[in-house]
């Protein structure tokens, strides 16, 4: 009998592809949220594989906060063009103007929370019934109990008490008009799985994931890139450091880590050695409150 054995990455991939195809099969207008970050890059790779030799049967959508790393935007456009999928970009800036929203203030004024408005408007504009996102359950507690198919009401709200039981590999994507489903195909992957997969697949990444010299300030032990989007105070000391990013978010709320890693192998070695979780090391906005994520999710955040 042949050896019917699969590697864990093959098993994770097979499950994620199954989910991608369920989305394509169950929904009329799905979309894949693509930011140029490693998790959404992984999603694009999975979507490509799921529908080969056809094209990805849904558009890629980016909610642009205006605070992105230029390297990530350049990468986003290039990859979207390569896949042949349609890229839709909607800007938080425009939502702020159109809706008269208040710009957040403060040292690291983050538009992270405002993204939800733009996302909901975009969902409405295109009538998306499913949005595929790259969230993983290992990221933090509120995610750990979220379903792979997570239903949101008209206001984009997540109600943890009303989650549908999810059994076997059967996904219930039935919704009423106005509702939509957030789908998380890599729910069961952890950070290292993503890195190992990127390595195995030879996926190209935005340059900021690798070591580079950057001007930063130190804030509560986090290294924050100098950018027009943060407020410099008198006692801030600007340092030049060799850094890389472990995750790609907004320049205002994503911290860099000191690193000399110039290849995926180096990165994997570093992650294996570090003892701090991805979120703890890189997300400035989550430090505010333990329940920060859960609160944002209830309000339509991804």
């Amino acid at each position: 009998m042949p050896q019917y054995k699969l590697d864990y990455l093959d098993l994770l991939e097979a499950e994620s592809i199954h989910i991608m195809r369920e989305v394509a099969g169950q929904f009329d207008r799905p979309a894949l949220l693509f930011s140029g970050g490693k998790d959404s890059i992984t999603l694009v790779q999975l979507a490509l594989k799921a529908f080969k030799p056809g094209k990805i049967p849904f558009p890629l959508v980016h909610i642009d906060t205006g605070h992105n790393f230029p390297e990530a935007l350049e990468y986003r456009d290039r990859v979207a063009a390569q896949t042949g999928a349609k890229l839709i970009v909607r800007k938080v800036e425009d939502t702020i103007r159109a809706r008269g929203l208040k710009e957040p203030i403060g040292k690291f004024a983050s538009r992270n929370a405002l993204q939800s408005y733009t996302l909901l408007d975009t969902i409405e504009e295109f009538g998306f019934d499913a949005c595929i996102g790259g969230a993983r359950r290992d990221e933090e507690k509120a995610r750990a109990k979220e379903r792979i198919f997570s239903v949101r009401d008209e206001f984009g709200q997540w109600d943890p008490k009303k989650q549908r039981p999810e059994l076997w590999n059967l996904y219930n994507g039935m919704i009423a008009k106005g509702e939509n489903v957030r789908v998380f195909p890599i729910s069961n992957w952890v950070e290292l799985d993503v890195w190992n997969y990127i390595k195995r697949e030879g996926i190209e990444l935005p340059s900021i994931y690798f070591t580079h010299e950057r001007e930063v300030i130190v804030h509560q032990e986090h290294l924050v890139a100098l950018s027009p989007f943060i407020r410099l105070d008198e006692d801030d000391v600007i340092l030049k450091k060799n850094v890389r990013y472990r995750t790609v978010g907004d320049m205002t709320c994503t911290a860099a880590v000191e690193s000399t890693a110039s290849s995926i192998d180096d990165i994997i070695a570093e992650i294996n050695k570090t003892n701090i979780s991805e979120r703890g090391e890189t997300r400035i906005d989550d430090q505010v409150s333990e329940a920060a994520m859960e609160d944002r999710k209830k309000n339509g955040y991804f």
Partner: protein, 413 residues
């Protein structure tokens, strides 16, 4: 390196949270910042000691508030395997949560408090494990430190459990004496149980054979999506995308497309756009056929040698998961893999007491957490297998037609 999914079950205070915390801690799966948070919360512990149970704190807090909670997933890995833990706590919604968590698990860890031995809950967890056909059962006898690591205590609990397991037709059971608090026989052998020669829990989790329980002989491939590029170079390409639930598929195989029963031959099997020799469970693949037939999402491609059931009349054991009760005559949608059809639950034949396996007849309703045996009639034929014979194609869910919620998990018969 492969992947094992397991679920943990125990009554409240048996030490389930501590055990999960211990597994994560002793395999260095907990990051410093997470540890610091826990240390801050471990107030009533002496310096340096941490409350391992707090790693599952998010759920614990909810439990204390009496909020309905469901399955949370935790992850860790060693050099041998990646592990996915389904943590399904809560007493009120217990059956529902456990059934959900168990549906995807290759293995269940049932905790027994060494001071209490086999209790009603143990029986119930075992019955649910057997209903859901979890291939491996590990019974950990916890808090051995509180019974002086006594071999007699351990042996008598093992004997009690064996008796019960035999009655429930559970075959593959492994017993391990542990102390989740002290760490005995979980990742490390602490030397407190010299009379125990078996594996530690982690060794066991790392080495049990998972592939053995995948069915490679009866081939089931539900079509999820039809790939039709319609580009110039792939003008006539038509590929059926799906997941091999069981069995294998290769070029030249004679297949039947169900429920219509049309026959064809496999032209090619592709994975990620490349032709492969063979696709096998649980791979996601694309199948192309020699004949140009109309196949849609929801159809199932099977090889000729083994046929599933194709029927509109079926029986099922189901776990009711909704607050609104099930009444005979109610209509729902039944989803089996990618096929969703309208159905009516014609009869509730009996209710199964998950503590005793007793059957209660003359039942008019099933409420949340009830396990009942029902007769269902569907609007059009569905393709399925007996859950106990082929787990991969025997599970189904019922969906409320207007609320769209998932109201039941069904083991088809």
């Amino acid at each position: 390196m492969d992947l094992l999914r397991f679920i943990t079950a125990g009554s409240v205070d048996d030490g389930k949270s501590t055990l999960i915390g211990r597994l994560l801690y002793d395999t260095d799966s907990i990051k410093v910042d997470q540890l610091e948070t826990i240390q801050k919360q471990s107030k009533n512990k002496s310096e340096g000691e941490i409350d391992l149970a707090l790693f599952t704190d998010g759920l614990r807090a909810e439990r204390e508030q009496g909020i309905t909670i469901d399955v949370a997933y935790k992850y860790f890995s060693t050099t041998k395997r990646k592990f996915i833990i389904a943590d399904a706590p809560g007493h009120i919604q217990y059956t529902r949560n456990m059934v959900t968590g168990a549906s995807n698990s290759d293995l269940i860890i049932i905790l027994i408090d060494a001071r209490q031995g086999v209790v009603e809950q143990t029986r119930r967890h075992t019955i649910i494990a057997s209903l859901l056909q979890i291939p491996h059962v590990v019974v950990t006898i916890n808090k051995m430190d509180m019974v002086d690591y006594s071999e007699e205590v351990y042996n008598s609990i093992v004997a009690d459990y064996f008796k019960m397991a035999e009655m429930l037709h559970i075959k593959d059971v492994t017993f391990i004496p542990i102390s989740a608090l002290k760490g005995d026989n979980i990742v490390n052998t602490a030397g407190n149980t010299p009379w125990y020669q078996g594996e530690t829990l982690l060794q066991h989790l790392e080495t049990i054979n998972i592939v053995k329980y995948i069915n490679f002989s009866e081939s089931r491939f539900p079509v999820q999506f039809v790939i039709r590029p319609q580009s110039d170079d792939l003008h006539d390409y038509r590929g059926y995308a799906g997941k091999v639930l069981s069995g294998t598929y290769k070029k030249g195989d004679v297949v039947t497309i169900l429920p219509d029963g049309i026959e064809s031959v496999i032209e090619a099997v592709e994975i990620h756009g490349k032709e492969v020799e063979e696709a096998f469970a649980p791979q996601s693949a694309v199948i192309r056929l020699k004949d140009d037939i109309d196949i849609n999402r929801g159809d199932v491609i099977v090889t000729k040698n083994s046929q599933p059931k194709v029927s509109q009349d079926l029986e099922a054991t189901l776990c009711w998961m909704d607050n609104k009760p099930l009444t005979a005559g109610n209509k729902y949608l039944l989803q089996v893999q990618s096929r969703r059809v309208r159905c009516v639950v014609k009869e509730i034949n009996y209710k199964l007491d998950v503590n005793t396996l007793e059957k209660h007849e003359n039942i008019s309703q099933a409420s949340l957490n009830d396990v009942v045996h029902v007769t269902i009639k569907t609007a059009s034929p569905i393709v399925y297998d007996n859950y106990n014979a082929l787990r991969a194609n025997g599970g189904a869910i019922l969906i409320d037609e207007t609320a769209h919620t998932t109201v039941a998990g069904c083991m088809l018969i």
